[in-house]
């Protein structure tokens, strides 16, 4: 019977890449959406 040789660190690295990448994307997108909307409000005030 053959067993797969799994390097456990590969799974740890993959999980952290997904988790951290997803969190950074979420925070960055929310920050940019907020800045864009607040600029739009200021623009509407000035028009």
């Amino acid at each position: 019977m053959q067993h797969e040789a799994l390097n456990q660190w590969h799974f740890v690295a993959a999980a952290y890449a997904v988790g951290l990448g997803g969190t950074v994307l979420l925070v960055a997108q929310s920050w940019m959406a907020m800045r864009r909307a607040e600029r739009r409000r200021e623009g509407a005030r000035g028009k």
């Binding site: 456990q8 660190w9 799974f11 993959a14 952290y16 988790g19 969190t23 979420l26 929310s30």
Partner: protein, 244 residues
């Protein structure tokens, strides 16, 4: 709660809290994950893969906690007609869906070395997947209500309340049905985890909770700013259209 019904008062507080939550969240979550990956010991049974716990468990709790908060905001919208409740619920749904998705993917990655499979259709995994789809459905309903001009419609709020039925199902699924997933290691006031695992896990959870809060505040500020910009543009257009 109605003290924050005034958007100006809420925005004054949110402008102060957003960078605080974001900065503290980055420091705590980053520090705890560094501790979990580089300092905390490997587990006797699971080996190095136990380090995924510092990411998987906080995102799972926040996926579930997010819907609980969404349901409370929906209740507040339906019963007390709190003007910011609908905006809060919409703002919670995006990070809730993102964290539920991260929980599902990191759990699947962890499952391969721990259980020998990426996925099983058992109670815990399936009910968590249902939670992710509930978030997507809520977002679609809220967007449709916004497009139809109903603003903060009652339909997404009712859906938010009904969907809360899934939260106890997720929590008790590992006790009600046979599952590859382990039963809860932490419950009110007691923990089966050794302190060298528990401390970085709790710090990571606090950090991710602050990041979740920062994202909710940013999204609430964006929704409020957009609606204020539209109201101003509408008022100006009406003033121009009115005959002198």
């Amino acid at each position: 709660m109605h003290g924050f019904a005034n958007p100006t008062r809420f925005l004054r507080l949110a402008r102060w809290l957003t960078p605080l939550f974001l900065g503290l969240g980055i420091v705590l979550a980053g520090g705890a994950m560094g501790w979990g990956v580089f300092v905390a010991p490997a587990d006797q049974l699971q080996g190095e893969t136990v380090r995924i716990v510092y990411l998987h468990v906080p995102t799972a709790w926040l996926g579930m906690g997010g819907w609980t908060a969404l349901a409370l905001a929906s209740l507040s919208e339906l019963v007390w007609r709190h003007p910011l409740a609908g905006i809060a619920a919409r703002s919670i749904a995006v990070p809730g869906a993102a964290f539920a998705a991260i929980c599902l993917v990191t759990g699947s990655i962890w499952g391969r070395p721990a259980w020998g499979t990426w996925w099983v259709w058992d109670g815990r995994l399936t009910s968590m997947l249902v939670l992710f789809f509930l978030y997507l459905a809520y977002l679609a309903l809220a967007d449709a209500a916004q497009r139809d001009g109903q603003g903060q419609s009652r339909i997404p709020a009712i859906f938010g309340l009904v969907g809360a039925v899934n939260i106890p199902i997720i929590h008790y699924s590992v006790l009600w049905w046979n599952s590859l997933h382990q039963p809860p290691s932490i419950s009110m006031g007691k923990s089966a985890m050794a302190p060298e695992f528990l401390v970085p896990l709790l710090i990571s959870t606090a950090g991710f909770s602050l990041l979740f809060g920062a994202v909710v505040l940013m999204r609430m500020r964006a929704l409020l700013a957009n609606s204020q910009a539209e109201a101003r543009l509408r008022r100006k257009a009406m003033a121009v259209a009115e005959p002198a």
